[in-house]
């Protein structure tokens, strides 16, 4: 039994639930049997991957759904061997080059060349090009992105690239100018609600509108998250009641508790306790930017106008440092300490003002 997220994933462009106009355009795009390099971007859970798969299916037929996992070996110039797992069908191959860490350039150079240099034997019955899907392009190193540039043009005859990422800010302009960018916005709240009701109906469940609306709000316009939440609710309790609790991810609850701990007391002792909790989160593989964002959003509930903008500047500054520095914990902890001092000062000033 598969999850609802996979079970109800649309399989063709005609079956997409929202951004219908865009789906129409994509269909036109591949109608001639050819398309330029694509750069698909949008927030998580908006349906980027679904659209890519639909596009490929439109192009090659159902053959693209027969997937197999292949292991590729690459050797770096320093003779280090790296192994990368790829997902491939007869017509396309999907790679996450950033798996190779800072050796991602080698993967791009080798992989694209091997795929692109092998021409299909029989062009009359199939397309004359293969598709390479590169995921998480925004996490590629600059070197690897430069390596993509000329390669993209040179092997235009035998392969097409589909790059996908969350934001184009980290993709160098030279690549952006070689691709057609396709923006996939997150679905609106109404669209998510419609899909939730549709899925529940298919499953033979009745979803009370109030509960549906609450799930939608909690999902923050992330369709995948909404579907997962809905399924969790189903496992928890059925029939649904309008006021049943929606399971939140436990790290979000944990983050909220951490933020409350910071606000309730500002002392070196508390800082140590918070540090413990931060380590706990980091060892559970919660990324640093998610931790920062979570704590920041919770802290904001306890701040006043002027303090708010000050803290915003601070969090932006420290989050930026996590990307430049080596260990995330230093910068998160620095942010917490800084916040404590700013907050305490603010409280004391308020206290003084009340006294006189």
């Amino acid at each position: 039994m598969s999850l609802w997220v996979d079970k109800y994933r649309p399989k063709s462009l005609a079956k997409l639930d929202y951004h219908l106009h865009q789906a129409e355009n994509l269909k036109m795009l591949v109608k001639n049997g050819d398309f330029p390099h694509l750069l698909v971007y949008g927030p998580p859970g908006a349906g980027k991957k679904t659209r890519i798969m639909c596009l490929l299916k439109e192009l090659y037929g159902s053959g693209v759904e027969k997937l197999r996992i292949e292991k590729h070996m690459f050797t770096t110039p320093s003779n280090k061997k790296i192994e990368i797992a790829t997902l491939a069908s007869n017509y396309h191959i999907e790679v996450t080059p950033s798996d190779a860490g800072f050796h991602d350039r080698v993967v791009i150079q080798e992989l694209i060349k091997t795929v692109a240099q092998s021409n299909p034997l029989d062009v009359s019955t199939q397309r004359h090009f293969k598709v390479i899907v590169l995921t998480e392009v925004d996490r590629l190193s600059k070197d690897a992105q430069h390596a993509l540039r000329r390669t993209m043009e040179k092997y235009m005859n035998s392969c097409r690239l589909i790059l996908y990422c969350n934001s184009t800010s980290k993709v160098i302009p030279a690549i952006r100018s070689r691709c057609l960018s396709i923006r996939v916005p997150a679905p609106s709240e109404e669209e998510i609600l419609k899909i939730l009701t549709f899925v529940c109906k298919k499953e033979g469940l009745t979803l009370p509108p109030e509960l549906g609306r609450r799930i939608v709000v909690a999902s923050k316009r992330n369709l995948r998250r909404a579907l997962l939440m809905c399924e969790t609710c189903r496992v928890q309790q059925y029939p649904f009641t309008a006021d049943q609790t929606i399971m939140e991810p436990d790290w979000e609850i944990y983050l909220r508790e951490t933020a409350n701990a910071i606000v309730s007391e500002q002392s070196p002792k508390r800082l140590l306790e918070v540090r413990q909790r931060l380590y706990e989160l980091l060892t559970k593989c919660i990324p640093a930017d998610v931790i920062m964002k979570g704590i920041y959003n919770e802290l904001m509930h306890n701040c006043d106008g002027t303090l708010k903008s000050e803290v915003t500047q601070l969090v932006a500054q420290y989050e930026h440092r996590t990307h430049i520095g080596q260990k995330d914990i230093y910068h998160i902890e620095a942010f917490v300490a800084k916040f404590m001092s700013v907050y305490k000062q603010f409280l004391e000033e308020g206290f003084d003002a009340m006294m006189f």
Binding site: P36, P185, G305, I324
Partner: protein, 353 residues
């Protein structure tokens, strides 16, 4: 024996499968490749470079070249066109070595491959007895991504082999090429294409391909591409594919180019005016959920702020400085949401005070 060999060759040469028709391939070729300039004279808008290169075509000596300039201005196209014109199709393979960032280009490759290629002598005559230039060309594309060590290794090689080899380095940023190399080359700056030249090119393509495009759509296409001909050509091609016979309108162009709609920018600014943190947060959240790129928001916000009449110059400069800081942070890979929030609260403060 001879007959046998001939026959064998004949059997092998008799393919059952029809080869893909050349026509079909060119039809599928992206226009960027299809309309790449075939000769040096064909290169648009780079008159100084073309003038120098034309001299070398008529027999004058060719210096080592260093092309630099923003993407899509025709650097690679120019040198490719030049070497094709110099050597023709039959000699091209043996006289030109093209290396780009996708090839391994560490110090070893410079020492082995480049040096070896550079040391080969070049004949002044073709097989048919016609004259041809007595040198080879090594094209180092995207040279700014070469390591410093590799560039160092190039120095002496460049000088030693001047008799037989010319180097052509292509890069976006001149500052990333070490000084000893730049002083050994004659430098040419490729400037972003002017609106007229770009329009002329695009119109030519439109005519040849039978694209219907309205006047204002063409204008916005040229503006959005910011002097990058490749970008505008890609946009034109895809817009044509999407719309086909209907003709391309201005909205189609805006949709493809990824420009953030004006309403979103103005709603962000008005939320900054409101003095409420929650409204700013909602506006930023909306931008992120819609998937707009933060860098694009930044550019458009910048254009808005510069002309905003209600802000004094002092305040504007504070906002500008923040924009610069945020841009750098985004380049380093910082989180878009937090950076946009930081910028918007700065704008909010400046608008309020």
């Amino acid at each position: 024996m001879q007959a046998f060999l001939k026959q064998g060759g004949g059997l092998g040469k008799n393919p059952v499968k029809p080869k893909p028709k050349k026509e079909e391939i060119t039809k599928n070729k992206p226009w960027v490749e299809k309309y790449r300039p075939k000769s040096v004279d064909d290169v648009a808008h780079q008159d100084e470079v073309v003038a120098v290169l034309r001299k070398s075509l008529t027999g004058a000596d060719l210096p080592n070249l260093l092309f630099y300039g923003p993407p899509g201005t025709g650097k690679t196209s120019t040198i490719l066109a030049l070497s094709h014109e110099l050597f023709g199709p039959e000699l091209y393979k043996e006289r030109v070595l093209e290396l780009n960032a996708s090839d391994e280009r560490g110090i070893d490759v410079i020492r082995e491959k480049v040096k070896k290629f550079a040391q080969l002598t070049a004949n002044t005559y073709r097989s048919a007895g016609k004259k041809c230039p007595p040198y080879k060309i090594i094209i180092l594309d995207e040279a700014d991504s070469m390591t410093k060590a590799a560039q160092e290794a190039l120095r002496r090689t460049m000088e030693k082999q001047t008799k037989t080899t010319r180097f052509c380095l292509i890069c976006n940023y001149l500052s990333r090429i070490i000084a000893p190399i730049t002083s050994r080359c004659s430098q040419f700056r490729f400037k972003p294409l002017s609106t007229e030249d770009q329009k002329k090119r695009l119109m030519m393509v439109c005519e040849k391909e039978g694209v219907k495009i309205s006047e204002d759509a063409m204008d916005s296409l040229v503006i959005c591409s910011e002097g990058d001909l490749r970008k505008s050509m890609t946009f034109l091609h895809t817009a044509h594919r999407l719309k086909g016979e209907e003709g391309i309108s201005r909205n189609d162009v805006l949709e493809i180019t990824g420009v953030v709609p004006d309403e979103i920018i103005s709603s962000l600014i008005s939320s900054c005016r409101s003095n409420s943190y929650e409204k700013v947060q909602a506006a930023v959240n909306h931008i992120i959920a819609e998937g707009h790129a933060a860098t694009q928001v930044l550019t458009q916000l910048h254009d808005e702020i510069v002309v905003m009449p209600t802000l004094t110059d002092d305040k504007k400069s504070i906002v500008m400085e923040k924009i610069a800081v945020v841009d750098k942070c985004l380049c380093d890979g910082a989180d878009e949401y937090l950076q946009l929030m930081a910028l918007s609260t700065t704008i909010q403060q400046q608008l309020a005070s």
